[in-house]
Amino acid sequence: MPQNCQSQSFSKLYHMGTEELPAPLLDDNYRNELGEEATAATSEDFQDSMKIAWRYQNLPKMEVSPTTSARFGHYYDVSQTMSSELFQSIKCHSFFLPEELSSQPTIKMCNMNCGYARLLQSIQKIIYQEGFDGSHPQKKQKNILRIGIQSLGAMLWGDDICSTDNPEDSHSLTKFLYVLRGLLRKSLSACLITVPAHLIQNKAIMERVTNLSDVVVGLESFIGSERETNPLYKDYHGLIHVHQIPRLNSLICDVSDTKDLAFRLKRKLFTIETMCCVKLFCKGGISAISHCYTLLTKTGL
């Protein structure tokens, strides 16, 4: 969900499926819980000057959370759903492919999978009719069309790239993404898509999907993998991979310093933390630096 998703600005949602929506994110003070953890981690005293690892003396201390000082993250409760008053007060459009296919005859658009073609037509119609492309000025204050598409590429879209190595039409998904990209660039809209990458057998398609996207974030769960029982990862539920960030209107992009991110999923908290090898080896009471020293001397460095 978009980060600034407060009730006033959350005026339009376009989503697939009719299931209950989770409650919108409100900028609450959840940070009490996270803040306590963070201060505990940084209160250790690292005043001893380093003899072996002296090159690291002047580097900033490893932080548990990527940004503990700045406002980061949201509080949420998955069990809460969106109130019906809020839902009814905003203009929503939904798209459920089985309903669309039964109501209208199949269309043929640029050799694309019918489901994707239909979805593109639907999005384009809304952008045009609601004035997000500037074709007729928006009557109320300007807003952004937020689009959410779930499980793109899955079989429920009529695509077989998740079920076979040699799909019948391997270009449908990438054509769809390209045209969608064009629609988004030419209008006041943003789109969030989820793709079941672990099901897509043809890795070439995933590379092309990445190249056609602006931001690509991957969640890798430990469930079912050998990492589930690995003591290194016992505090976490999975890894977060930031595969791509946009470099728009500029030569440079804002790349984070930390690349090893892991997440923890609780009922009311989803935290993203920097994986810190030294912290992982810590056992109660012993400072991280002396552990690191022990490890280095043992390995002969």
Partner: protein, 310 residues
Amino acid sequence: MRATGASAAFPYAHVPPRRAFRTLRGCRRDRGARRGRRGAMFAELNELLNASPQRPEKGTFTLLRDTRTDGSFLVHHFLSFYLRAGCKVCFVALLQSFSHYNIVAQKLGVSLTAAKERGQLVFLEGLGSCLDVLFGEEQQQQEQAGQPHPLRFISDGASDLRGLFEFVQTSLAPAAGDAWPGRALLLDDLGVLLSLGASPVAVLDFVHYCRVAVCSRLQGNIVALARGGDDSEDEENELLVTSLCHHSDLILWAEGLATGFCKDVHGQLKIIRRASLQPGGQPDVLQIYQYKIQDKNVTFFARGLSAAVL
């Protein structure tokens, strides 16, 4: 190892000593960060390529590659380079919008809007054009029957990119009273054509036709970006890139560092001059530099000699 100028023990033996020495000296002063120099393409890259907008080369095919990183900064460089060189430029921009290139070009001292208005730049914005193909009215398409839409291959599943080639040919055709002596074609990027359903052979045919029309007949230059790396699983893209490599006069290959992300060194640039294609059969010349991308410039330095570690 400290640099002492040209010497037999110079580690970068494949690099002409004079140029390498200048580069080493340059990075100590971090000359990319010098204030007061107005951004105008990447001056350091021009030095490394021995290129100048006052005397652009003719009839060359330059391939831009990137692996594990974004090599689009090279596209911005060549776009502003050829506009400054006074060439008529046809830019087939498939991946980003016009405003993106315009904003970056302004940082490099060139206005794409002004270039379009005076007729120096013909810009095909793929993202906007494809919407015309898909959602445009039937009548519009029939009116333009004389000149098929450059991206019509997306909708009608044509097996060739003839429409796109004809667009390029028309854009760069010599016209009476032409103020632009040179010609340049920029393609960003060719992999998108594969994603849109074109076969690798169709893309190679298109590039071949463009070479004949632009490089041979008009003595112009082509610069094309093709993404993808050695460890890619996209076989069609690999075929495309490998084939283009064999036919390029110059290859600029931007690679992310094998050791991972670094704040001060954003990547490594391989410059391969295909001397083997010239009569005489000289071996190809390979030069490797590292680079750091800044807001309005890109600085280049010899490997391991970033200003941050000196």
